[in-house]
């Protein structure tokens, strides 16, 4: 647990909190983008280059823009009248606590299976943890995707294609109706 990790974690949590607490919906979307960026930096801190850059490319480059377009094309860009806290906050808190408990249990249960940290920080690399995980190259990810995990890859591809076709059909439908 190094200083950089704490900083990045603080950034991510702050972004997520701001995404919940800000009044202006587009501000919330931008704060969510900061949270995504924090996640990407956490991945990069763990030397997972492909995951980090893919996180930036997909989440910040596509999902954030999608969220923003959705806010703009609907009426979400108006500030809510009644404040950001909903009336059924107890139910929400219970659900959030339950989900957090599940995740915490999963992470804690898998901790013994992670490779131990190697020798403590040497003089050559101050303030950074020596990464214990083996360096994963893009080639290895590619081989895994097309070898061992080819079925999930194909299912995801089919899912994406269905979504694309569905979007086109919905949009075309509206165009036909508009005519």
């Amino acid at each position: 647990m190094s200083l950089i990790f704490y900083l990045l974690a603080a950034l991510t949590v702050a972004g997520a909190l701001a995404a919940m607490l800000l009044k202006n919906t587009v501000h919330c979307a931008l704060a969510l983008t900061v949270a995504f960026a924090g996640l990407a930096l956490l991945f990069l801190n763990l030397d997972a280059q492909f995951a980090g850059f893919a996180q930036i490319l997909v989440y910040i480059g596509a999902v954030a823009i999608l969220v923003v377009f959705a806010i703009l094309l609907t009426r979400g860009s108006e500030t809510p009248q009644g404040g950001v806290f909903s009336r059924s906050w107890l139910a929400g808190l219970t659900a959030a606590a339950a989900v957090f408990a599940v995740f915490a249990w999963a992470v804690a249960a898998s901790a013994p299976r992670l490779p131990r940290a190697a020798a403590p920080a040497t003089a050559a690399t101050p303030a950074s943890t020596v990464s214990p995980a083996p360096a994963v190259t893009v080639e290895q990810i590619g081989r895994a995707l097309t070898g061992r995990y080819v079925l999930p890859l194909e299912i995801v591809a089919v899912l994406l294609t269905v979504a694309l076709i569905g979007a086109v059909i919905v949009a075309m439908h509206e165009k036909v109706e508009a005519k």
Partner: protein, 396 residues
């Protein structure tokens, strides 16, 4: 030969300079200092190149349009960027009263930061890449997509209908052509076998009978390069795809509510994006810093890289002076109905190239497939257009 050390020195002159300068510092600071020095060099060099490009563009466009460009400030008008810089720094910074001040302020910053990050992975010469990332190309495109967010921020925070509309159009255009850009680069990744830009250049830095193995000299490489060039022109909002900018001349655009230095930052961001994406194109298709003929390798590698960069810039300026602006729907049609299918086909053709093995067959097959597809898709697009004598409807 005596010349060999001289050639190598001139090729590595900047690397040696950096090592000499960094050698003055204690050992534990040296890596960080080296990185800082390289970053300072990039941040110093490319804005100067941007200034030079603005005046060259104005003079080049002027000559194309039968007039002289700026020629009053300095010899041949070359100090014009100085005048432009002073002007943009001393202009009043106007922020609309109802604008979102924080987002309005951050938008040009995000743009410039995201664009500068892209320079980190482009190899500008032998051993002259700032960070040799294993997934370098992916990093570059990740930074490229962040610029779209900055444009949206600029358009939305101005609280101006025209700004928002211009920003939405710009983002839609950039997203559409981003897909084409990525797919046309994936071909290169496929053939080179790596996402690392230094490895891609190394794969092209070989010579057969004096000719280089640049990917542009292959059928799929040429098609990929053309798609890449089209997508690049659209990504950086250059003519003929400059509807977001053209709107700002005609009506408004995403940088309409920006004045003075913030506008200059947008301008800087756009030109720097042009530089880095041209640098990437040179790396992917034109062999990066490798020389065109094996007997020309004595010229330093960074000279070759920057020559290819300036050639790309010159082609951009040439295109701007030649072509009229595309309409939004023509732009989008072109992206989704022509460029995207061609890039997908290019992927298949590249795979075919790989698996047909060496020989003349793969040249013939690949070329024929690509040409036939181009002709067929061109004809399909034309039939859709219904060109004919114009029909008029008059009010009854």
């Amino acid at each position: 030969m005596i010349a060999r050390p001289l050639i190598e020195t001139s090729d590595q002159v900047f690397v040696l300079l950096k090592e000499w300068l960094v050698g003055f510092l204690p050992a534990s600071w040296q890596p960080a200092a080296g990185v800082v020095l390289c970053v300072a060099a990039i941040v110093g060099l490319f804005p100067v190149l941007f200034a030079l490009t603005t005046v060259l563009e104005r003079k080049g466009l002027g000559r194309i349009q039968n007039r002289i460009g700026p020629n009053r400030v300095g010899p041949l008008g070359l100090l014009q960027p100085l005048a432009d810089g002073i002007k943009s720094l001393t202009k009043e910074d106007i922020v609309p009263a109802s604008a979102d001040r924080v987002v309005h302020f951050l938008a040009p910053l995000v743009l410039v930061v995201a664009v500068f990050m892209g320079f980190a992975v482009v190899p500008m010469g032998r051993n002259m890449v700032l960070v040799d990332v294993d997934a370098g190309l992916l990093f570059y495109f990740a930074m490229g997509t962040s610029t779209e967010l900055a444009i949206f921020m600029a358009g939305w925070s101005s609280r101006n209908k025209y700004s928002l509309l211009g920003a939405m159009r710009a983002v839609a255009q950039m997203i559409s052509y981003e897909v084409a850009l990525l797919l046309s680069s994936v071909v290169v990744v496929m053939m080179a076998g790596s996402l690392s830009l230094t490895k891609i250049v190394a794969a092209q830095n070989q010579y057969t009978w004096g000719l280089p193995h640049w990917y542009i000299f292959t059928p799929w490489g040429l098609a990929g390069f053309l798609m890449y060039a089209i997508a690049t022109t659209a990504e950086t909002n250059r003519s003929p795809f400059d509807l977001p900018e053209g709107e700002s001349e005609l009506v408004a655009g995403y940088h309409t509510e920006y004045s003075g230095f913030k506008f200059a930052l947008f301008f800087l961001g756009e030109y720097l994006a042009m530089f880095s994406i041209s640098g990437l194109g040179a790396t992917l298709f034109l062999g990066g810093w490798s020389a065109p003929f094996s007997f020309l390798t004595w010229i330093p590698s960074w000279i070759w890289f920057f020559s290819k960069l300036m050639l790309s810039i010159f082609v951009f300026i040439w295109l701007r002076g030649t072509l009229p602006r595309l309409r939004q729907d023509q732009l989008m049609n072109f992206a989704w109905k022509f460029v995207l299918p061609m890039t997908l086909l290019n992927l298949l053709v590249a795979a075919l190239w790989r698996f047909l093995g060496e020989g003349w067959e793969r040249w013939v097959f690949c070329t024929v497939i690509l040409v036939v597809a181009y002709v067929v898709m061109g004809r399909m697009e034309m039939r859709r257009e219904h060109f004919g004598p114009r029909s008029y409807r008059y009010a009854e």
